[in-house]
Every structure is written in structure tokens, then in C-alpha cells.
């Protein structure tokens, strides 16, 4: 479980996160939603420690991130996996080298064990016969799957995904959503996903945190979000014509 208390983060005079309290549960798909530019990515990057926070506390299973020394923070990070918005695959390495990168760096596995693990992760995201290809040779959806395979290669306890559906067609987006939800359950991970895709919210949102103007404006489940009276949420969801039509029916 990840707990966040009073998180504040700004860049210069611009305050992005103005005191967020939230908790992300183990074995569940936790979503952070909000408008573009609302601070979702800053929040996610603060959670993983890519941004130093100005105020507040983030704790992983009761251990405060700020209290960890360099080595402890490194150890924690080997238990994290992250899927970046642009995938962030190492473009000079093959797919197999991408997936085995963290294993090569941190594990004592033999070459064949690492290869088996890479194959397992790639098969788990429904990719076959791509081991020796380079990221640029794959489609956007396939690259996203490789990014997920790389993120789960170390069997992480915490999985973070920044806009995993951005740039994907609706059908592939549904496949990725389903995959992330299945992996969360299968590996009992604390999964935190940044998204503004309402389909993801309804399909896989176990625990949803809505951020507006640097504050947490709402928290609830995928079922609750459609029936909430919160005006900010309603404004966010029903800004889409499709959702307005569904509501009117």
C-alpha cells in the first residue's frame, strides 16, 4: 500500500500539487485522473521519487520514502516497475535486452534463466517472436506491451503507469487496460495508473483519485464515479459527448 499525506510540489513560483492526501491499495488498480496539465504526471513522478517533493510524506507499506537513505531507496526501486507515457524503451537495445536489463543489472540469474524470464514476460503481454527486434521496428501498441513486460520483469510490488493508453487506438487501449488489471491481480501489485481515458476509469478503476487544481477533488471506485454528485467529477466525465448521451439515455 502507498500512502500520501499533504503532498506539495511546485516548480519555481508555480505550485502544481497543493497538498494531496491519498492511498493506493495492494492488489487493486488505482487510477489518478484529471485534466491534462492538472499535475497527474508530477504526482506520479513524485510518488516514484523522480521529483523531490516540497512538503508532505509518501510511504510505501508504512516506510516513509523521505526517510530512506540512498541504498534503501535503490532497493525500493528494484521493487518498482514503471511504464512511461512514451514507453522510454532503450532504443539501441533489442526487445529481449530491454526486458532483461534490470535482471542483468540486479539479479544473479543465469543467461538461460534471464531468457526464460524475458520470454515469460513477453508472452504474458501477448508478444512472441520479437526478442531480437528493436523498439523502432514495433507498432505503438507492441512497444507499450514491451514497456509493460520490462516493468514486470523484476516481479515488482508496485507498478506505475503514466498514460498507458495515450496514442493507442480504442481497441488496443482496452487490451492494455485489461492486461494491466490482470497483471495487478495475478502478481498482487499496488498498481497506480495515470489516465484521462474514461473508458479505463470505468473498466478497471478499483480506486480512483480525481485531481483538480492541485488538490484531490474526489476519491472512489469505478461504480461510484458514475453516480457521484461531485460537480467537478460530473463536469470532467460529461465533457465528452458520448458520456453525455449515455447519461441522457
Amino acid at each position: 500500500m502507498i500512502e500520501v499525506n499533504g503532498l506539495k510540489k511546485g516548480f519555481g513560483d508555480r505550485v502544481i500539487l497543493k497538498g494531496i492526501d491519498a492511498d493506493f491499495h495492494k492488489g487493486r488498480t488505482n487510477l489518478i485522473i484529471g485534466q491534462s496539465g492538472g499535475g497527474k504526471t508530477v504526482f506520479l513522478k513524485s510518488l516514484v521519487g523522480l521529483h523531490d517533493i516540497d512538503e508532505g510524506e509518501i510511504s510505501y507499506d508504512g516506510v516513509a520514502l523521505g526517510s530512506l537513505n540512498r541504498k534503501e531507496r535503490k532497493d525500493l526501486r528494484t521493487r518498482m516497475g514503471m511504464v512511461f507515457q512514451g514507453n522510454a524503451l532503450f532504443d539501441s537495445l533489442t526487445i529481449e535486452e530491454n526486458v532483461t536489463f534490470a535482471l542483468n543489472m540486479f539479479s544473479d540469474m543465469s543467461e538461460s534463466e534471464k531468457r526464460d524470464r524475458a520470454n515469460f514476460c513477453l508472452e504474458r503481454v501477448n508478444l512472441k517472436n520479437v526478442n531480437q527486434q528493436y523498439p523502432a521496428e514495433l507498432s505503438g501498441g507492441m512497444q507499450k506491451r514491451v514497456a509493460i513486460a520490462r516493468a514486470i520483469s523484476m516481479n515488482p510490488q508496485y507498478l506505475f503507469c503514466d498514460e498507458p493508453n495515450s496514442g493507442l487506438d480504442p481497441k488496443t487501449a482496452v487490451v492494455i487496460d485489461k492486461l494491466l488489471s490482470e497483471l495487478t491481480e495475478e502478481f498482487n501489485m499496488t498498481t497506480v495508473i495515470n489516465t484521462h481515458d474514461m473508458n479505463s476509469v470505468i473498466e478497471i478503476g478499483d480506486n480512483i483519485i480525481f485531481i483538480k487544481d492541485g488538490f484531490k477533488a474526489w476519491q472512489g471506485s469505478g461504480e461510484e464515479i458514475l453516480s457521484t454528485d461531485n460537480e467537478d467529477i460530473k463536469d470532467f466525465i460529461y465533457s465528452s459527448e458520448i458520456f453525455r448521451r449515455i447519461r441522457n439515455k
Partner: protein, 235 residues
């Protein structure tokens, strides 16, 4: 300084760092061999011809041309000029590679994995360049003198005078001086270029801008440190 501090921390896995070192040795060092060789031969030949042109006096022995060529190449051309060429070639390569990795979040991906990106990406480059730059400069010195020899064969001066002049009053310390300079220049080129690449903010345009800044800054650093090193080592 902060970046250098992060760069020279204990590696997570020596085998992975060694692989990165070998890759950088090939990319930054070995791949520069051809251009350094071509430039050195031709500049060596041109220096010999120009010196011969300027010392065209019956009272000045021809072997003085070889002495002047030797000193020009060993003291200045090979260590400084070749390092400036490498500041352009290697510096832009390092800054644009790291900059692209930064804007495509590959550096963040390393960090989230628990890898120290500064150490993994920069340290092997620094070590490979610090080791290979003196080798490149040594090859450049040799080929520069070969270029002078070829010019003498071409008739600009007597071949025997050229060979005699190369050996006359040779001071081995000049080689040491040149190698110390090339060691320092190699370090400056990589560390400055890496700094500009590692801290890129923005997109493709900023990567280009920072690659240019890296080349300019490392070239200036080479020129300025050349003065101070010369002052310290030769005076």
C-alpha cells in the same frame, strides 16, 4: 561537480558497466581513428611544406624543417588540434545521445529501475575517452610525422635531412607533456558534453541547442586549459 559526484559512485553491476565501457570505447575512440589518421597525415605534410617554405634560406640547414615539424606536431597539433576535432565529433555525439535519452524519459526509466543513470551512462564514457584519447594522440603524432616524411619524399626537402632532424635534440618529456594534455582534454570533453546532454529540458530543438553548447564549451575548455597546462608543464 554534483554530476561528477553522482558519476563516480559504486557501480551496481561491474559486468554491465564493463560492457558499456567497451561499447563507448568503440563508439568514441575506435570510431574516431579514421578521421584522426587522415587529418594527421595531411596536416603533418602541410606543416612540413609550410615550414620549408618559410625556412627557404641557404644558411639554415634543412633538418631544421624536420625539427620544427616534429615540435609543432608533438607539442600542439596532435594533443590540442586533434582534441578540438574530437570535441566536435565526440562532444556532439555524447550530448545528443544523453539529451535524446533525457527527453524520451530513458534516463528516468533507469532511475526508476534503481540504476544510477549518471554513473551508468557517463562513467564508462569518461573512462574510455581518458584511456583512448592519449592512444589517439600518440597515433596522431606518429602519422603527422609520417605525413611530413611523405612531403619530404615529394621533394620539399631531403629525406635524409628529415629523418636526421626528427631525431636531433629529441626531448622525450615533450611526449609526456602531450599525453598529460590529451588525458586532461579527454576528461574535459566528455564531462562537459555529458553535463549539457544529461540536463536537457524540452524536446528535439533543445537537444540540438545543447549539443552545440557542449561542443563550444568543451572546445573553449580545451583551449583555456591548454594554456594553463603549458604554463605549468613547460615553463
Amino acid at each position: 561537480m554534483v554530476l561528477l559526484g553522482r558519476t563516480f559512485r559504486k557501480p551496481e553491476n561491474l559486468r554491465m558497466y564493463y560492457q558499456a565501457f567497451m561499447r563507448d570505447l568503440d563508439l568514441l575512440g575506435y570510431n574516431s581513428l579514421a578521421i584522426v589518421s587522415v587529418i594527421s597525415i595531411f596536416v603533418g605534410a602541410v606543416v612540413t611544406i609550410q615550414t620549408a617554405f618559410n625556412l627557404d634560406d641557404p644558411f639554415i640547414p634543412q633538418y631544421y624543417i624536420a625539427i620544427a615539424t616534429r615540435e609543432s606536431i608533438i607539442l600542439e597539433f596532435s594533443p590540442t588540434m586533434v582534441s578540438l576535432i574530437l570535441a566536435g565529433k565526440v562532444g556532439s555525439n555524447i550530448a545528443s545521445t544523453l539529451g535524446s535519452m533525457r527527453v524520451s524519459e530513458q534516463i528516468d526509466a533507469l532511475e526508476v529501475m534503481g540504476v544510477n543513470p549518471a554513473a551508468y551512462l557517463i562513467a564508462p564514457k569518461v573512462v574510455s575517452m581518458v584511456i583512448f584519447n592519449p592512444i589517439l594522440i600518440t597515433i596522431s603524432m606518429f602519422l603527422g610525422l609520417v605525413g611530413g616524411y611523405l612531403a619530404s619524399v615529394g621533394g620539399v626537402m631531403g629525406v635524409d635531412d628529415y629523418i636526421y632532424g626528427l631525431q636531433l635534440d629529441f626531448d622525450a618529456y615533450h611526449i609526456t607533456y602531450a599525453l598529460i594534455k590529451s588525458f586532461v582534454f579527454g576528461f574535459l570533453i566528455v564531462s562537459i558534453s555529458a553535463y549539457f546532454g544529461f540536463y536537457v529540458k524540452g524536446g528535439a530543438i533543445e537537444v540540438g541547442i545543447n549539443a552545440t553548447k557542449a561542443v563550444v564549451a568543451s572546445s573553449v575548455a580545451v583551449i583555456v586549459s591548454n594554456y594553463f597546462l603549458t604554463q605549468i608543464l613547460l615553463v
